[in-house]
Structure formats: C-alpha cells, structure tokens
C-alpha cells in the first residue's frame, strides 16, 4: 500500500464511517474551492469530494465537468483553483497561463487504461496490433469496411465511436495511435461516454474507445480488444505492460491558491493521500507510490 505517507487523517480506507471518525481529531476548516476539467478524472474527483466533504463539511468544493480543455480555459481565466486533466497541459495553454501570471503545479493522481471496445457479437476482432488500430481509425478519404483491414473480416462498413475530439482521451488516442493524423470523419464524437457505450453496444460493426472505468462499468455489454496481446486490467495498466494505451491522470493546482488558502492545501493533501484508493474504487488504477510521494513533496513546497 501507500501507507508510508499516511497520517491520522488519510488512511487507505475510503469508507465514510472511518473518515468521519478521524474527522473529530481535526480542526474544522471553512472555505471555498473550485475546480473544473476532465470528465475522465471526474469520477475520481467526485469520490474525493464526497469523502472530503464528510470530513470537512464546512469546506465548499465545487467541481465542474467541462473536459480537460474546458477546465484549462477556466483555469487560465482565473475562475478555478485547480484543473483536472486527462493529458498533460499543452504548450499553448501553459503559455497563456504564463501570460496571465498564473503559476501552477502538476500532480499525477492515477492511471487510466484506454480501452478499445467492440460489440459483443463481434467475433473477428479480439486482438489488434497498434498498426491495425491505426489502419482502422485513420481517415483515408473513403468509407472503410472491416474487410479492407483484413480480408477475413466481414465485408461491412465499420461504425466508429470516439470521445469528443477535444477531450484528453481523444487527444491521447490521436497522438499515440494515429501519430497526430486525422481520425475517420464518419466517427460519432461525443463528450458523453455513455453515448459511446450505447453506440457500440447496439451495432455489430461498431468499434469505440474510452476510459478504462467506462469499460469496467459496462463489461458485460461490450468486448474489449487486446492490444498487442495485452488485455487492459488493473495490473497490466499499473505495471506499464499495457502500452501504449495507459496514461496518467492529472490535477493542475494553482500555486497561489495553496499559498493563500489553507483549505486548498488541506484538500489537496487529502486528495493525494487518498487518490490511489478512491481511483480504484471507481474503476481506475492507482499510480505507483513514488508518484504520490513526489506530489506530496511538491505540495509541501508550495505551502
């Protein structure tokens, strides 16, 4: 476990009963915080906020779910204290933050395995190479059939479902699998991951991808595709075996907020201490312990 760093308030349990018990040792804080950002990170953040508010009921934490980019937009505008992200910050965004004089710190809080899924009735695509995936998903200027990729596969049009083009998930996929090339035009792009689940679930010729957590929640409705022979599981993602589709999830913290707002420090500390367990509880994968201790060091430095 990650117990080395734990103090009285941040033991590995995510049960609210225990959190409440430990809360009594604590001085009650009051204050406000707001964050926004990735929908991928949202379930983890929701878990953190849920547990934290049981501990510190007078601290008001609000988190929007506008996607990684939307979160950064607000972060840049100075509207939020922290921003959830499913990809590292982009150079343009970093530049804008600099322009506005906002210093920030990146924290890794968990890992996500990006899962490729197909319909339950899909009997042909069980395992795919990265090259095949690229071939399937890249825009080639014409409609693609399964048989175009592999002549043994059905002679039917492929139906695509992908997260919204600006989401961190999409970015990651396009960067790592498509190497920056365009995704097929005919793909249905949706910010609502459930829509993707529904889409793939209802069409035999469909393929889609999204965060591991969504796959876990819909395991029985979809089939997952192995990538180069590796199936995404907690272990394969954490160990790095599932490449290249496992990726870290981030929270970007505004330095000024940690410095000037004791509540912010308290919240972030709580978040880092509990992120691993809470991430697993909602279907993600905990980061290696070094990551969390590094985060904590950074946080202490900001205080």
């Amino acid at each position: 476990g990650n117990d080395e760093k734990s103090n009285s308030s941040s033991n590995s349990s995510s049960s609210s009963a225990e959190s409440n018990a430990s809360a009594s040792d604590h001085e009650k804080l009051e204050g406000k915080l707001s964050g926004d950002g990735s929908s991928t990170v949202a379930p983890i953040m929701e878990a953190i906020v849920e547990e934290y508010s049981a501990e510190q009921p007078k601290v008001q934490v609000s988190v929007g779910v506008s996607g990684t980019g939307g979160g950064f937009e607000k972060f840049i505008n100075g509207e939020t204290d922290f921003s959830d992200a499913s990809r590292p910050i982009k150079d343009e965004e970093a530049a804008k933050l600099k322009e506005k004089g906002i210093d920030y710190t990146e924290m890794k809080i968990a890992y996500d395995g990006l899962s490729i899924v197909v319909n339950k009735e899909n009997t042909w695509l069980k395992d795919a190479t990265v090259k095949e995936l690229k071939e399937i998903w890249i825009e080639s200027g014409k409609d693609k059939k399964w048989s175009d990729i592999n002549s043994k596969w059905p002679n039917e049009k492929i139906v695509y479902y992908s997260p919204g083009t600006e989401s961190g998930t999409y970015d990651y996929f396009v960067n790592d699998i498509l190497e920056g090339k365009d995704i097929v035009k005919s793909a249905t792009l949706s910010e609502d991951d459930n829509v993707l689940v529904k889409g793939v679930e209802s069409d035999k010729n469909a393929i889609g991808y999204f965060g591991f957590a969504y796959y876990i929640a819909n395991k029985d409705k979809l089939s997952v595709v192995k990538v180069d022979g590796v199936e995404p599981t907690h272990d394969t993602i954490k160990s790095g075996e599932y490449t290249p589709l496992s990726r870290p999830l981030f929270v970007y913290v505004k330095n000024e907020a940690v410095k000037s707002n004791p509540v912010m420090y308290n919240f972030m500390k709580y978040a880092i201490d509990n992120a691993g367990d809470l991430a697993e509880s909602v279907g993600y994968v905990r980061s290696p312990d070094e990551d969390y201790s590094e985060d904590l060091t950074k946080l202490e430095a900001l205080k």
Binding site: D36, P43, V49, S53, Q60, V61, D192, N194
Partner: protein, 292 residues
C-alpha cells in the same frame, strides 16, 4: 329553378355525416395521442426511477455510488435559482407589460420594442447561455453563481412573461378602467387599484408556466459551466450551485447503468416540482377566472 333537389340533399347528407364522424375520431385520436405520450413518458420514468426515489434520495448529495446518490444539492440549488428568477423576471416582465399596455404611445420605438420582445422569445436558450457566460459570469464577474444563472434564466423567460402579462392586462375589461377614470382616478391609481388586481391571475398563470420552463432548462446551464460535483448548499446569491437538469444530465452520462435509473429518479423529482408549479397555476386560474 331548383338546384338543390331534395333527394340530392338527402343522399349527400348521409356521407357528409359519416365524414364528420370519421374525422372527429381522427381529431380526437390526435388529441389523445399527446396524453398517451405523456402517460408512456411518466410510466417509463416511474418504472426506471421509482426504486431510487426515497427520502435518502432527497436528502443526500450526489455520490459515486448510485445507491447513495441524492439530489439535495440540485433540488435546493434549483429552488435558489427560482428565488432569483421569480422576482427578477416578474418585476421586469410586469413592468414592461404595464408600460407597453398603459403608457406607450403608438410610436416607432414602441413597435420596435414589441417586435424585439417577440423576436427574443424565439432565440434558442443556448444562445442565452452564451450571453450569460460572456456578460454575467465573466464581464460582471459573478462567476458560476446563483445570481449569474438567475439573471440568464430571467432574460430567457422575460419575453414570455411580458407577453402573458400584456395579455392579462389587455383582458381587463375596458368598463372597469372607464369606471375608475370616470371617478377622477389618475392613471397610476387605476393601474394599481383596478388593472393589476384584475390581471394578477393571468400574470401569475403565465408567470408560473414561464418559471417552470426556467426550472427545466439545461442548455444555458451547460454553457455557463455550472458545476456538478458539489457537496454543499448555496449560502447566498453569489454561491456556486448546481441545478436539477444539470444533475440529471450528469447522471445520464455516468458509465454505470444504475446511474440511468438514478437519472430517471431525478427526472421524477423534476417532474413533481413542475406538476406542483403547474397545479398552482391551474388553481390560481380556476379560482379567479370567473371574476367578471
């Protein structure tokens, strides 16, 4: 000369009467269809959501566990929203209606204002979201607060309230105004003592219907970026908050299927709120409709 021979008329009479009967059934069917849709809709929501709809659902904040998820923040947030939208939109809506009906002279400006109102009524709600984001959230730095969302929603329903109030004011019989003027009352006295009291049922009915629209609107809130992960209740007009449709939208997007049912339960709560508001409107209307 006789064109309408008696037997000719008689002969056609039968087919005319049958046509009348047939189309009447079609018209009735079309009318009932909307009732059927409403019934199916309610049935679906109830059958999907009833299991989650209990006291805990109303008193819990949302949660990552579907069985613990509750609607407290959204329900109270929506009530806060209502507390801003109702006074603001009624004040400005009724004020504008009184001005247009009682004071405005027939001028180009008046025609322009009137045209503008009917145009505004047709502007999609999502565009109001863009307006609110730019003006209230950012320019006036109200943030994603109850006030910013309240102002946005007020503008959204303002045209509806103005038009309903204008109609209610217009429906006050001319008789009553004349009687009041005839006794030497000033215009303002007549408006306050005669016109508005008589128009109030109409204004309130229209107003409540408009407010229920404000309660159910999602798109502007999405554009404003109203947060959904929130475990506290608003403490003031500048607090951040979440609202029923936002919470439902969020649940509907969750990966676990159970959240679909939680969303349905949320929809039930929203619908109950709306039915209560509508019933109030109907009671007001029936209670006051036979006044003159």
């Amino acid at each position: 000369m006789n064109y309408l021979h008696e037997d000719r008329v008689k002969k056609r009479m039968a087919s005319r009467l049958i046509k009348n009967k047939l189309l009447k059934s079609f018209f009735l069917g079309a009318t009932l269809l909307s009732l059927v849709v409403l019934a199916i809709l309610m049935y679906r929501m109830i059958s999907q959501g009833h299991a989650y709809l209990n006291w805990d659902f109303l008193t819990n904040f949302s949660s990552r566990f579907p069985q613990n998820a509750g609607i407290k923040a959204a329900l109270i947030g929506s009530l806060w929203l209502l507390a801003v939208v109702a006074p603001v939109s009624l004040l400005f809506g009724v004020g504008a209606a009184v001005y247009l009906e009682e004071y405005a002279k027939k001028s180009k400006l008046t025609t322009f204002i009137q045209m503008n109102i009917s145009n505004l009524a047709g502007v999609p709600s999502i565009v109001f979201g863009l307006l609110g984001l730019t003006i209230f959230v950012r320019m006036l730095s109200l943030g994603k607060s109850v006030l910013a969302a309240g102002f946005t929603m007020s503008l959204l329903i303002l045209p509806v309230i103005i038009v309903a109030s204008q109609e209610a004011i217009r429906a006050v019989p001319k008789d009553l105004r004349e009687a009041s003027y005839g006794m030497g009352a000033t215009k303002w006295q007549t408006i306050v003592k005669i016109v508005l009291p008589s128009a109030i049922p109409g204004i309130l009915t229209g107003g409540i219907l408009a407010l229920s629209r404000a309660i159910g609107e999602t798109a502007p809130l999405v554009v404003l970026g109203i947060p959904v992960i929130i475990h506290f209740l608003p403490e003031g007009l500048l607090s951040e908050f979440t609202a029923l449709p936002m919470q439902i939208f969020d649940w509907a997007k969750r990966p676990q299927e159970e959240f679909q049912y939680v969303a349905a339960a949320g929809i039930l709560v929203l619908m109950i709120v709306l039915v209560i508001m509508n019933s109030v409107a109907i009671i007001i209307r029936n209670k006051f409709s036979k006044r003159y």
